[in-house]
């Protein structure tokens, strides 16, 4: 027995040693002598866990495309290099990952896509090291943190545009169906003002926890409230779940929907039960214009069928290009980037975005899905300014 045990233990420790040592000599030491040192970007997003979903494919593709463009066209004074890391949908992991990116991989900037808690946990390390952190997503406004830039529309920019459009189309009574999270709860009062300013009202609201599998009670409440349209502010799989159940429920068949957080792909996967949904975003794959076409074409060249030209891809793409514009000389580093960022504008696939304070002014498109869930653009607003004014 003992010999058996021992040999097993020895074998196991050998395996452990090999695996660990293999991993240890992993991704370090890529610096090439002689060259200009590349600008390293850490890109953190949820690749696993419950928050994985929306951004995983598009975000990575947009990022890689931007890095390729910058390096091949020498758009920045230093070459770019990206390191992708998974925050496992967990703030603890996010904090750890960012420390690794910053203190071990020595990145010069961080781009992140993911839940607020992850972003804030990550930002601790970025702040400590004094490097810029670009959040490439749409999210709550009003956060003025020295190194954190939101490279995507803040909630008010898209939501208020969306609300105005719906009311304009004759839907004056609105219902606000949100995920149970403070940014979404916080977005309700300004949305109410926006609706009232346009001549409508928000007549009811409910908030459901993430991971809700059965929305029948909410649908009953909505049916009882008899709004003209529902604004869906649900995240991830919940939005699809809600839309599926909404689409299959004849009690609410007459009520229009406006979605705020679903990706185009998710909308499309809804098929017929995803028909006639309003939405607003800073990018749709159907945006007109040459830049948009070229962006799609480049992604398709790189990824073929897997190409995901969505809003996540665009925001990551823009974030990298913003960084590139801030790298003006071979000596530019984190400090110079931080100084330059507040005054940078980027011509992205959707049009021009301009960083103003910690947020951007951006084009906003209002779309509506057709009979098979494809988004058609119904209105375009260029250069929508952020509500927040950070010094």
């Amino acid at each position: 027995m003992s010999r058996h045990r021992r040999s097993r233990a020895v074998r196991l420790s050998a395996i452990c040693a090999v695996v660990l040592s293999g991993a240890w000599s992993g991704p370090d030491s890529q610096a090439r002598a002689g060259d200009v040192q590349p600008i390293k970007i850490g890109f953190m997003l949820p690749l696993s866990g419950p928050a994985a979903g929306g951004s995983a494919e598009g975000g990575q593709q947009g990022l890689r495309l931007a890095v390729d463009e910058i390096n091949s066209r020498h758009l920045a004074a230093r070459p770019f290099e990206a390191i992708i890391a998974d925050d496992a949908s967990d703030p603890r992991t996010a904090a750890e990952v960012c420390k690794r990116l910053i203190f071990q991989d020595k990145v010069d900037a961080i781009i992140s896509q993911g839940p607020t808690a992850n972003r804030m946990a990550c930002n601790q390390a970025a702040l400590k090291a004094g490097i810029p952190h670009l959040a490439a997503l749409s999210g709550p406004g009003g956060m003025c943190i020295a190194n954190l830039f939101m490279i995507g529309p803040e909630t008010s920019q898209t939501l208020h545009t969306l609300v105005r459009q719906i009311v304009k189309d004759g839907n004056t009574k609105l219902y606000y169906m949100g995920a149970d999270s403070s940014p979404i709860r916080d977005a309700l009062p300004p949305a109410m003002s926006a609706a009232e300013a346009a001549g409508g009202t928000i007549i009811g609201s409910s908030f459901s926890p993430s991971g809700t599998t059965d929305f029948s009670s909410e649908l009953a409440k909505i049916a009882a409230a008899r709004p003209d349209a529902v604004i869906m502010m649900l995240m991830g799989a919940d939005a699809v779940t809600f839309s599926r159940q909404f689409g299959g429920d004849d009690r609410v068949a007459a009520i229009k929907r406006a979605d705020f957080l679903m990706t185009e792909k998710a909308l499309h996967s809804l098929g017929r039960s995803g028909a006639n949904i309003y939405s607003a975003a800073s990018y749709y794959s159907s945006v007109p214009g040459e830049a948009g076409m070229e962006f799609k074409a480049s992604l398709t060249r790189m990824y073929g069928e897997m190409a995901a030209p969505d809003v996540w891809a665009v925001m990551a793409y823009n974030a990298v290009h913003a960084l590139a514009k801030a790298v003006t000389s071979p000596s530019s580093g984190a400090k110079e980037i931080l100084e330059a960022l507040p005054n940078i504008s980027v011509d992205g696939p959707e049009g021009r975005i301009k960083i103003s304070g910690r947020y951007i002014s951006t084009p906003v498109f209002v779309g509506k899905t057709d009979g098979v869930g494809r988004v058609q653009i119904v209105a375009t607003y260029s250069d929508v300014p952020p509500a927040a004014h950070c010094k």
Partner: protein, 280 residues
């Protein structure tokens, strides 16, 4: 009235999801934390086959078949070695299985949320309420499954064998029952139930690799409330379904989720043996 139908549906969903966990815990004393991962596999199989032009029912059947097969593989590779171990071990091992399955799905299919179209659409009007036909179908299927299971357990020879294995496994072996086979089949049956739950709920949900994982804790508590009896499971699902529906309808869905959990905590404190018929 709508609340009543919503409650019935909610109870059915709880039953559908928990019944596979129930048979595995009841017969094998194994907590299968990979249950919702099995459901996710089923729904992705369904997605895959509908994506390849199969009709829904065929895809659903294929989804159940894939999950059943997966259950057999997991049983053979892992669970077989956990018989007689402490319940903590089974929790950890099946947790590991679920990590693997979920991540394999994420790698194979990507983690983007998608969905699959329900095979039945439209509603019928009943007692002044519009009821979705697909939901009625789910409720009816669950009712059939539970009734059939009750009949089998109570009246058939197979049911007696199952109960023998449940109360005294070594003795069941001692009277000639191949209990290893019974347990093997139980696990596979549990996986098949997960497959059924996954494929049936698929069209009502957004599909991502962490499909249904939010149901794991509450269904696990429900199964504990069942006292390892089918009647107990029924009671437990009714309690949970009522708590869920009433608190969502007249309160707040966050509180509703917490209340389902609280129900289990209170019930198991007052009746540690679970919600079972009083024995004469």
């Amino acid at each position: 009235m709508g609340v009543v139908f919503d409650a019935i549906f909610s109870v059915s969903v709880f039953l559908l999801v928990s019944i596979g966990l129930f048979v595995i815990l009841g017969l094998m004393n194994i907590v299968n934390l990979a249950h919702t991962a099995f459901m996710a596999v089923a729904v992705y199989a369904e997605l895959y086959f509908t994506g390849h032009g199969w009709n829904f029912w065929l895809s659903a059947a294929a989804g159940v078949a894939v999950t059943t097969l997966l259950g057999a593989i997991v049983e053979f590779a892992i669970v077989r070695r956990l018989y007689g171990r402490h319940i903590d071990d089974t929790i950890l091992a099946t947790w590991g299985v679920s990590l693997i399955l979920v991540q394999v799905l994420a790698i194979a299919f990507g983690s983007t949320t998608t969905s699959v179209a329900p095979p039945l659409s439209g509603s019928v009007k009943f007692l002044g309420e519009l009821l979705s036909i697909y939901r009625i179908f789910i409720v009816a299927t669950v009712a059939t499954v539970v009734a059939a299971m009750a009949a089998v357990i109570r009246f058939s020879k197979a049911g007696l064998i199952v109960r023998m294995v449940m109360t005294n496994e070594p003795l069941a072996r001692g009277v000639g029952i191949n209990t290893g086979m019974v347990q093997r089949l139980t696990f596979v049956a549990g996986a098949a139930f997960a497959g059924l739950a996954g494929t049936l709920l698929g069209p009502t949900q957004g599909i991502s690799p962490s499909f249904a994982s939010s149901l794991l804790a509450s269904t696990f508590l429900i199964v504990l409330m069942s006292g390892r009896r089918l009647s107990g499971l029924l009671f437990a699902c009714v309690a949970a379904g009522l708590a869920q529906t009433l608190f969502s309808a007249y309160g707040n869905p966050v509180i509703a989720n917490v209340m389902v959990i609280c129900t289990a905590v209170v019930v198991l404190r007052l009746k540690p043996e679970g919600l079972i018929w009083p024995r004469h």
